[in-house]
């Protein structure tokens, strides 16, 4: 559960996988961001996508980036860069994202490939002197600052991988496997959070560790 082999069942002799399909989730997120840009009349052929990763070589970052690249192809976007955000330390991540934005004024999209990078998007955009919506930003996970960023308009959307379901189905599938031999692959994630209603639901259930 939680993180599959980059080659799925081919690369790992697992029974089944219960968790987010990282590539599909990233693809869904990217399409949401690119549609937002299209609605604003931005010329996507000249757009630049910056993807910040805490650990650029890690499996999660590579697979999520591949989903975004697939969506970019469909929308005719060719310019992109994967940024090494320098690990999980928030000040370091924020400093690097901000410096990148200042050094790359051509940036149209800023996407956090992991939770910390996404959490720091709003602070980085503010520090770089950007207005809400000036750079179209999004990412993964639903940390308090990410949700606050969506409310303020700095972040367009984030992906909730719905970990509760990963834990719930993992136990349930083991039970079914033991009883009937079932080994289903279950995609629990890819829930796009991009509206006040969805945020309200997450904020309500978060203290109970459900969302």
């Amino acid at each position: 559960m939680n993180n599959d082999d980059s080659e799925g069942a081919v690369g790992n002799p697992r029974l089944c996988y219960i968790g987010q399909s990282e590539k599909a989730a990233a693809y869904r997120l990217a399409r949401r961001l690119f549609d937002e840009a299209k609605a604003k009349g931005i010329d996507l052929s000249k757009a630049h996508v910056a993807m910040a990763a805490e650990v650029p070589g890690a499996n999660y970052a590579k697979i999520r980036a591949s989903g975004i690249l697939e969506a970019m192809k469909e929308y005719g976007i060719t310019s992109y860069e994967i940024i090494d955000a320098g690990g999980l330390e928030m000040t370091t991540v924020e400093a690097r994202e901000t410096a990148y934005l200042l050094a790359h004024p051509e940036t149209t999209f800023l996407i956090g490939l992991g939770g910390i990078c996404t959490d720091r998007l709003t602070a980085s955009l503010k520090a770089a002197g950007k207005q809400p919506g000036e750079i179209i930003a999004g990412g993964f996970d639903t940390t308090p600052d990410t949700l606050a960023g969506i409310k303020e308009g700095y972040v367009t959307a984030t992906i909730d991988q719905q970990q509760y379901l990963q834990g719930y189905f993992a136990v349930y599938v083991l039970y079914l496997y033991n009883k009937y031999g079932f080994t289903p692959n279950i995609d629990t994630g890819g829930y796009l959070v991009d509206s006040p209603e969805k945020i309200a639901l997450i904020e309500k259930l978060s203290p109970e560790h459900i969302r």
Binding site: M90, T91, T92, A95, A99, A127, P144
Partner: protein, 331 residues
């Protein structure tokens, strides 16, 4: 040639701080001239460099002071995160903000004292002591917080002075964090260079047995230096959590070696007894400038580590060269 006959220019050139300053000036000029549209010196970038870079740099000042005293502290990142957790818990308990900050700083001081007492009482190398406490404080912060990231928005509590004190802009421009970095550097500089306690630090770091023979309580000196590092970690924990409005169990991760690197770049000897606050200040600034400058220069970030390595090696080699020249000048 004796020291009295050396020209002022030569004296300056043969000071350890000067080689660090040369490195910093070259880096700043290089980044300013070569960065696209000179964005390195863009006011927005300088504000980011000064505000975010100062959080780490404040801690580096303490680590440098401790190294002059002949000791290491690898637990700074873990003290920082533990202090952040204390801040979070007190904030959640609705304790008045300035009392939260004061308690957080006192906890930092206590953790520093623990490092000091274990090191001097048990005669354990501080490298080992703080390696242990590094894991312990980080582990406890993870254990108590469940590894979760938690919101801690201090702006929700009405306080006219708290946020400006830690994260405000002086005159609407100059980041408060950079102001505190300078204030701490000046205070520690006076302590190290113009106060009797500073002489004790140098004596303890240079030759502990000789310092003891002179009547210096070296255990106390070392413990106080550890405590100063803890106080700075507690202060930065307050500033960081006030700015980010959240607690994360990864705060300060990786800062321990960067702080040592800043001190070494600043001309502080790993063997103790040698170093200056000016050098440590410039060393910390240099590390922040490299991190920021390479991104602004659009150089792939992996180069940062290569540049860090080169700057550290250059600093150590130039310090060795300066030491050799100083010895020759004194003959």
């Amino acid at each position: 040639m004796n020291d009295g006959r050396m020209s002022l220019g030569r004296k300056l050139l043969l000071s350890r701080s000067s080689s660090v300053l040369i490195v910093l000036v070259v880096l700043v000029l290089g980044f300013a001239i070569l960065s696209p549209e000179h964005r390195f010196v863009d006011p927005d970038n300088l504000k980011v460099l000064l505000s975010l870079g100062s959080e780490f740099s404040i801690i580096a000042l303490g680590v440098g002071l401790l190294m002059v005293c002949g000791e290491f502290d690898l637990s700074v990142g873990s003290i920082l995160v533990f202090c952040s957790f204390v801040f979070l818990r007190l904030f959640e308990a609705q304790v008045p903000l300035f009392f939260v900050a004061l308690t957080t700083i006192l906890v930092g001081a206590a953790l520093g004292i623990i490092n000091g007492l274990i090191t001097v009482r048990a005669q354990i190398p501080s490298f080992v002591t703080t390696l242990g406490t590094m894991m312990m404080w980080r582990g406890l912060a993870l254990l108590f917080s469940g590894g979760e990231q938690k919101g801690c928005d201090v702006s929700t509590v009405p306080s006219r002075y708290f946020l400006p004190f830690f994260t405000g802009r002086i005159g609407g421009v100059f980041p408060a964090q950079a102001f505190w970095f300078i204030v701490f550097a000046v205070f520690l500089g006076i302590l190290l260079h113009y106060h009797r306690f500073g002489n004790w630090i140098y004596a303890t770091g240079d030759n502990r047995d000789a310092a003891r023979a002179m009547g210096i309580n070296t255990d106390l000196v070392k413990t106080v230096c550890f405590m100063i590092v803890g106080v700075l970690c507690g202060f930065v924990a307050c500033a960081q959590i006030a700015r980010t409005a959240c607690f994360t169990s990864r705060a300060g991760e990786g800062w321990e070696l960067k702080a040592v690197a800043a001190s070494v770049v600043g001309g502080t000897s790993l063997r103790g007894g040698v170093g200056s606050m000016v050098g440590i200040f410039i060393g910390a600034l240099t590390i922040s400038v490299i991190e920021n400058g390479l991104v602004v220069m659009r150089i792939p970030y992996f180069w940062t580590y290569v540049v860090f390595g080169l700057v550290i090696l250059f600093s150590v080699l130039s310090s060795m060269y300066i030491e050799k020249k100083q010895r020759e000048a004194h003959r």
